[in-house]
């Protein structure tokens, strides 16, 4: 396929994505995580039909990186709020703890599995274990929003689900900065890993602060686009050139904007509707990158990571049912609901695949893709059951069809 034709195809996908955000035409159409586009990309990609060949996939690498970095910015900007409501600090702390716990469980399991059952060198084993853990630590907020809006759920459990999903972006974004700084090939050889992490996040913070200052007292939408795009592209390019993590940089930039800009709500309202139009082409490209022709030990490791994730999530749910009043009695379902993952996990896997290409990157991407599909299958249903049992929705009568409004 020719590059221009492929680009036009991606624009058409963006168009579809923007319609989904608008929600005027297609109500209730499509999956919450956009997993169908991932599958479409896989089918069109080099592994199946080869409509999108290896060369084209390589040529669109910059598009992928810009896309995933923009998603990082969107997640950062919208980190502190769910709709109009601020995410309470305890919920943020809880979400970070859960993410770290799940990440640790998966990483440790994969590390031991890989050490004993795969021929990978130690450094690759550590990279794989760490990244697989990071990917599994995210819960997509789209899935939660999907259920909450579809069934008009209201109550402390719905709020907790929305808040923890929203706040789950911080841990993976920061942890990826550490992994990228630690991986061989990072620039700034004189710096320690911690210092490189500081550069990753510092770059985002400086650019975010600069953008916040430039957006000034008056908020002018047209000017703001130039500033936001300029700073995010500069951050993405600079971080990539230094072989650091561009997602972490743009996430830090977004979070800085959310924290210090007096227009954070306007900025969130501005960038949130761009998420789907960016996400769908990225999902398609991610699908094209997926390689399932891996050695058997690595496929076993993928399964191990997924099983570890399920167990860790269920364990977290059980733990929450003991410690948190709103989860009491619905711990397993709530744990299952946190299996939903999507944009960030795939973005991290793609970013890792570009930063550290090879068989480990392919395995990581496969873990993320399987995680998305599995989460799509198990997550929304679990959340619906949890909310129904908690009495926050009426189980038999679905509410009005979701309109997937821009959540700003």
């Amino acid at each position: 396929m020719n590059a221009i034709a492929f680009l036009l195809g991606l624009l058409v996908l963006s168009y579809l994505g923007s319609i989904l955000v608008g929600g005027r035409t297609i109500r209730g159409f499509g999956l919450a995580s956009g997993a169908e586009y991932l599958v479409l990309g896989f089918v069109l990609g080099p592994q199946v039909l080869s409509v999108v060949g290896h060369t084209l996939v390589e040529a669109f690498q910059p598009v992928v990186l810009v896309g995933v970095s923009w998603l990082g910015l969107v997640l950062g900007v919208s980190y502190l709020r769910v709709g109009e409501r601020r995410v309470p600090l305890p919920h943020i702390a809880l979400s970070i703890t859960l993410s770290a716990l799940v990440s640790a469980c998966v990483s440790v399991t994969v590390f031991f599995g890989a050490t004993y059952f795969s021929p990978l060198p130690r450094i690759e084993v550590i990279a794989f274990a760490a990244t697989a853990g990071i990917i599994c630590s995210e819960t997509t907020r789209h899935s939660v929003r999907w259920i909450v809006e579809r069934y008009a759920a209201k109550g402390p459990l719905a709020d907790l689900a929305a808040d923890t999903a929203r706040a789950s972006a911080l841990f993976p974004a920061l942890a990826l900065a550490v992994v990228c700084a630690w991986l061989p090939g990072a620039a700034l050889p004189a710096f320690s890993v911690l210092e490189r992490v500081g550069v990753s996040l510092g770059l985002g913070t400086v650019l975010g602060g600069t953008a916040a200052l430039l957006l000034g007292r008056e908020f002018r939408r047209d000017e703001s686009w130039g500033i936001l795009l300029g700073t995010s592209l500069l951050g993405t390019g600079a971080a990539t050139r230094l072989n650091l993590s561009p997602i972490s940089t743009t996430f830090a930039m977004g979070l800085t904007l959310a924290l210090v800009s007096r227009h954070s709500v306007d900025i969130k309202a501005m960038v949130t509707p761009t998420e789907k139009p960016v996400l769908l082409p990225v999902l398609l490209l991610a699908g094209a990158y997926v390689n399932v022709k891996l050695p058997m030990p690595l496929l076993v490791l993928v399964a191990t990571a997924i099983v570890a994730k399920i167990l860790a999530r269920v364990f977290c749910g059980a733990l929450l049912s003991i410690t948190t009043r709103s989860v009491r009695g619905v711990g397993l379902e709530f744990g299952g609901s946190m299996l939903s993952c999507g944009a960030l996990g795939l973005a991290i896997a793609l970013s890792f695949a570009i930063r550290h290409p090879g068989v480990v990157a392919d395995t990581v991407l496969l873990v993320a893709s399987v995680g998305v599909l599995l989460g799509e299958w198990l997550g929304p249903g679990s959340l619906r059951r949890a909310l129904a049992r908690a009495g926050e929705i009426k189980p038999e009568v679905p509410g009005p069809q979701p309109t997937l409004p821009s959540e700003a």
Partner: protein, 454 residues
């Protein structure tokens, strides 16, 4: 990038912008110095971000001394480009060509959409005289100057008089080409409204077509003079006729399609414009359709055959607010400063004579057309700028005459560089003096914001 008309910026705001500009340059300078050996394709992404941010900030800062935003974009590109700080290298500048394609298509669409039939009728007389006088008088006079100083021009050494006349005529065509993008950029920033703004826009858009025809004519005339063999062939005109008619036909079809889309669907115009800019430009080149003319015709159709013109212009303004900054800043990065340093005396002589004859031609045509006094005084001001179109013509000439083509093109690049820097400043100055820039954004909300190389 954006039109002015907002609240006055305080000293504090300017200080923040200056600091942010330093941060922007500092970040990229630091990164390129730390990893000088890493030249990846991601350089393009970094370059777009840098040019967008630095161009915007530089334009804001230069605004304080009355310079147009466009000059700020160009300056940011020049400073960050391959010849000064080398933050954006030659390869990256070349890789940014899709942005130029997109910007040129948006400029042509917006230009066509700005040309309302009733407006054209009101300036038709002045337009006709100006087109006639500017295209003939300036061409002949600048060609004469070229002939007079030919002994100082390196690539004309050893040519006989007939060949010199041929080359001079080709230079004359180059002299009558203008810059639609610079005109649109300045009008967009200043939101100017009045006879000078209206006349400039209409004349420059029309001159695009005239220059294409003139080039074909002069190529036909110059070939026997320069090569000393063969006669005049009308084959070029046949090809040109097909191309012009084809472009207009395709443009009208596109315009009707756009009108229908705008009326029936009317949203996600950003994506539609991106698809048109990237996808159709390539298709047009493939089927030998002049994309500039086709987009111009499309915009014209949307404005004059439907009521969707304002919607289209508003969308172009939103998209262009980002694209045009990168476009002009890239043009700045593209400026060949060492070449300009080498050829500047000849380039200055040719540019000065071009500007002088343009002013004289403007005065003559205004008098003949009985234009209002303000137009007699400032009607010429937008005609000094040159950019991408002139460079494009020089490439065509260089290909047609390989014997002296490279030298011709180098001199053209140097001359265009000067006109590109001086022209927008003159135009903005004239609009300010004519009192056409004191409008709030709502008065003239349709033009795209500033920005590059046509």
């Amino acid at each position: 990038m954006s039109g002015h008309g907002g609240s006055k910026k305080t000293t504090g705001t300017r200080a923040i912008q200056a600091a942010a500009l330093l941060v922007t340059f500092g970040v990229l300078y630091g990164v390129t110095r730390v990893t000088p050996e890493l030249e990846t394709h991601l350089g393009t992404v970094t370059a777009i971000g840098f040019l967008l941010l630095a161009g915007t900030l530089m334009s804001e800062l230069l605004e304080t001394i009355g310079l147009p935003h466009l000059s700020g974009y160009l300056l940011a590109g020049i400073i960050g480009g391959p010849h000064i700080l080398h933050l954006v290298d030659h390869h990256t500048v070349t890789e940014l060509s899709p942005v130029n394609t997109l910007a040129l298509s948006l400029i042509a669409l917006a230009g066509g959409a700005e040309l309302r039939l009733d407006t054209l009728r009101s300036v038709a007389r002045g337009l006709a005289w100006a087109t006639l006088i500017q295209s003939t008088f300036v061409l002949v006079c600048v060609a004469s100057v070229f002939l007079a100083i030919a002994s100082f021009i390196p690539f004309t050494q050893g040519m006989n008089l007939k060949a010199l006349i041929g080359v001079a005529l080709l230079w004359g065509v180059l002299a009558v080409s203008r810059s639609p993008s610079a005109c649109m950029g300045i009008l967009s920033q200043t939101r100017a409204k009045g006879p000078v703004a209206t006349f400039s826009l209409a004349f420059i858009m029309l001159s695009d077509v005239v220059v294409v025809i003139l080039l074909a004519t002069m190529l036909m005339l110059a070939r026997p003079l320069v090569t000393g063999s063969g006669g005049i062939s009308l084959e070029d005109f046949t090809v040109l006729g097909h191309e012009l008619l084809g472009s207009i036909a395709v443009g009208v079809t596109l315009g009707l399609g756009l009108s229908i889309y705008l009326r029936l669907v009317g949203h996600q115009l950003l994506l539609v414009l991106l698809a048109i800019g990237f996808g159709l430009s390539d298709t047009f080149a493939y089927i030998h359709v002049d994309s500039l003319l086709a987009f111009l015709a499309a915009g014209f159709v949307v404005t004059n055959l439907s009521d969707q013109g304002p919607k289209l212009l508003h969308s172009i303004e939103q998209t262009g607010s980002v694209v045009f900054v990168v476009f002009f800043a890239t043009a700045g990065a593209h400026l060949d400063i060492p070449l300009l340093r080498k050829l500047w005396p000849i380039a200055v002589a040719l540019c000065a004579s071009r500007a002088l004859f343009t002013v004289i031609a403007g005065r003559i045509s205004s008098r003949l057309a009985e234009d209002p006094p303000i137009l007699r005084r400032w009607g010429w001001s937008s005609l000094v700028s040159q950019a991408g179109l002139a460079l494009g013509l020089s490439v065509v000439i260089a290909k047609a005459f390989p014997a002296f083509g490279e030298g011709f093109r180098s001199l053209a690049i140097a001359a265009v560089a000067l006109n590109e820097m001086v022209g927008p400043i003159l135009f903005k100055f004239a609009l300010d003096r004519a009192g056409e820039t004191d409008h709030e954004p709502e008065v003239r909300p349709s033009l795209p914001p500033a920005a590059a190389t046509k």
